[in-house]
Amino acid sequence: MYGAVSKSYKTFNVFNILFLTLLGLMMFLPFLNVIAQSFSSSSAITAGKVTFWPVDFTLINYEYVFSDASIWRAFGVSVFVTIAGTMINLIATATLAYPVSRPEYVGRRIIVLLVLVTMIFSAPLIPNFLLIKNLHMMNTPWALIIPGAVSAFNFFVMHSFFKQLPPEIIDSARIDGCGELGIMVKMVAPLSKPVMASLGIFYAVGHWNAYMSALYYIDQPKWWPLQVKLKRMFETDDISIDPGASQFSDLAHTSPEGIKMATIIIATLPIIMIYPFLQRHFVKGLTLGAVKS
C-alpha cells in the first residue's frame, strides 16, 4: 500500500497476524468453553474433562433451565424492562435533545449546563436509594427503568445530531404548512432513525445487562431480572428443585455447573443473536459520540 516493503516490515506483519490470531482466540475460546460445559454431563465437568468440546453430550442442563419457572419469570422481567425501558429512554432523550438543539429555544444553554453537571458530578448511592424509597418505587420494575431514563452522554450525542440537521429542512416544512409538532413527527423523526437505532442499541444492551439497580432497589424475587437470578445461582449454589422433577435431583446435588453454563448461554443468547445487527450500529453510535465537542 505504501510502496516497497522492507524485510523487517514483512517479519513484523507475520508476527502481527500471529499475535492477533492468538488474541482473537483468547477472546473467543471462553465462549466455546461455556458452550461445551453447558452440553456436558456433570460428571465430565467435575472430572475436569471438558475443554472446548462437549463430553458425554447431554441436553439435561437446558431441560432443567427450561423447566425452572423462576428463570422464565426473570427472563420475562428482563424482556419487559429492556423493551419498555429502551422506548422510554429514546423518547425521553429525544424530547429533550431536539428542542434544546433548536435556536428558537430560549434557555437552551441552561438546560445543557443542567445535564453537563450531572455528568461530571453525581450524587452518592444513599440519597438515590432514599429517593427511590420515598417515591415508593422499590420492588417495582419502574425502579429499573425510570431512574436511568436519560443518559447524559446519550443526550449530548443526540443533541449534536439534531444540531447538525440543516435548518432549511425545518423552514421548508414550515412553508408547507407544518406546525412544530408536524415538523417533529414528519420531518425530524424519520431523519433521526440512524441515531435512534445506535442509541437504542446502547440503551437496550444496558437494560438487558443491568444488575446493580436491581440489587439496590429490588429485594423480592418476583421482580428479579435475569442478571440477578443468575448471580444468585452462582453465589449460593442453590438450585431450587421442584419436588416433582425427580429426574433433576441427582444432577443438582452433584454439580450444578452445567446448569449455570446453560443459564449463561440463555442469558447471552439475545445479544449474540442480534450481534451482527448490533455491530453495524454501535460503531456508528460511538463515533457519532466522538465528534461532538
Binding site: 477472546m27 445487562n209 452462582f234
Partner: protein
C-alpha cells in the same frame, strides 16, 4: 432576532410561538431535577446523623464528623488503598491496551482477517459482568477450569485465582482488559482512518521506515483522542465500577478486592449507616471532580486538548 425595545414581550411571544418545543421538553427536565438534583441535594445527610424516621429536616447535624471518622477507620483506609491500587493498575494496563491493539489492527492489510478479528474482539463488551464472573468461575476454577488445566499441562500447580487475596486485583483488571480492549479500539481506529495517506508517502520519500512513521505520524495523530479518553479515565479513577467488582468478591478475596463502591453498598444499604456512607460517596465524587479539573488544566496547558 431580538429587538432591543420591548425585549421581554419578544421573548414571551417567542416562547408562545414555539410552545410545542417547551411542552415536550418538560418531562425530561423534570426527570433531571427529580432524579439527579434532588439526590445531589440529599447528599447533605453526609453532614447529618441521618435518621430515616426524622428525615432530612429532623436529623441532627454532625458537621464533618463522618469525614473524620472515615479517615480513622481501618476498613476505610484499607479499602481506599485497594481502590487506588486497582485504579492505578487499570490505568497502567487497561488504558494503553486499546491504543496498541488499534495500531496493530491498522497495520493489517488482509481485509477479511481484519474484519473477523474485529468482530471477535468487540464481542466480550456486550456480556454483563454477572455473565463474565460466571464464565470466570468456570474457566479459573482450580479443579475444573480450562486455564488451570493448561497450567498443569506446563507443569505449574493449579492456582486458586478467585479464592486468594493475591490474585483478585489481577483478575479484576484482567477481566476488564478482556472485556473492553477490543471495544476501546473503535474510537482509535476511527481516528486512524482520518489520517491523510499523503503524510505517510511523504515520510517514506524522506526515508522513514514503518516504525518511524508510527512514531512520527500515527501517534501524534492519535494524541487528541488519547488525551480526551485519558481525561475521562482520570475522572473515573476512584470509580472502578460497582458491578465488575461485586460479582467477583467472595469471603476469601474481599480483603484485597473490596473497593469504595462495594464498601458503600455493604456499609450503607446492608448495614444502613446512611450518613457515614454518603460521606464516603461524597468524598469519592469530590476527588473525581478535582482529578478531572486538574487533568483538564494540565492537558490544556500541554496539548491544547480539553474536555470543556
Amino acid at each position: 432576532m431580538k429587538r432591543k425595545t420591548n425585549k421581554d414581550n419578544g421573548i414571551w411571544r417567542l416562547i408562545w410561538k414555539y410552545k410545542a418545543l417547551y411542552l415536550i421538553s418538560i418531562p425530561s427536565i423534570l426527570y433531571f431535577l427529580i432524579f439527579k438534583y434532588i439526590p445531589l441535594g440529599g447528599s447533605i445527610i453526609a453532614f447529618q446523623d441521618y435518621n430515616i424516621f426524622k428525615g432530612f429536616s429532623g436529623s441532627d447535624w454532625v458537621g464533618f464528623a463522618h469525614f473524620a471518622e472515615m479517615f480513622k477507620h481501618y476498613d476505610f483506609l484499607r479499602i481506599l488503598n485497594n481502590t487506588v491500587l486497582i485504579g492505578l493498575y487499570d490505568l497502567i494496563f487497561s488504558f494503553p491496551a486499546p491504543i496498541i491493539l488499534a495500531i496493530l489492527l491498522n497495520e493489517l492489510r488482509l481485509v477479511m482477517f481484519k474484519r473477523v478479528i474485529q468482530t471477535v474482539v468487540y464481542m466480550p463488551h456486550f456480556l454483563s459482568w454477572v455473565v463474565i464472573a460466571g464464565m470466570s468461575v468456570a474457566i479459573l476454577s482450580p479443579t475444573t477450569g480450562v486455564l488451570n488445566q493448561l497450567l498443569v499441562l506446563f507443569g505449574i500447580d493449579p492456582l486458586y485465582f478467585l479464592g486468594d487475596n493475591s490474585y483478585i486485583r489481577g483478575v479484576l483488571v484482567g477481566s476488564g482488559i478482556w472485556r473492553d480492549t477490543g471495544y476501546g479500539t473503535i474510537l482509535y481506529l476511527a481516528a486512524l482512518a482520518g489520517i491523510n495517506p499523503e503524510l505517510y508517502e511523504a515520510a517514506q520519500i524522506d526515508g522513514a521506515n514503518r516504525w518511524k512513521q508510527t512514531l512520527r505520524i500515527t501517534l501524534p495523530a492519535l494524541l487528541p483522542t488519547i488525551m480526551i479518553l485519558f481525561l475521562l479515565h482520570i475522572g473515573k479513577f476512584l470509580d472502578f465500577g460497582f458491578e465488575r467488582v461485586w460479582v467477583f468478591l467472595n469471603a476469601l478475596n474481599t480483603e484485597n478486592g473490596e473497593i469504595l463502591d462495594t464498601y458503600i453498598y455493604r456499609a450503607g444499604l446492608l448495614s444502613q449507616q446512611y450518613g457515614y456512607t454518603t460521606a464516603v460517596g461524597l468524598f469519592k465524587s469530590v476527588v473525581g471532580l478535582v482529578l478531572v479539573m486538574m487533568g483538564n488544566l494540565f492537558s490544556r496547558k500541554t496539548t491544547g486538548e480539553s474536555l470543556y
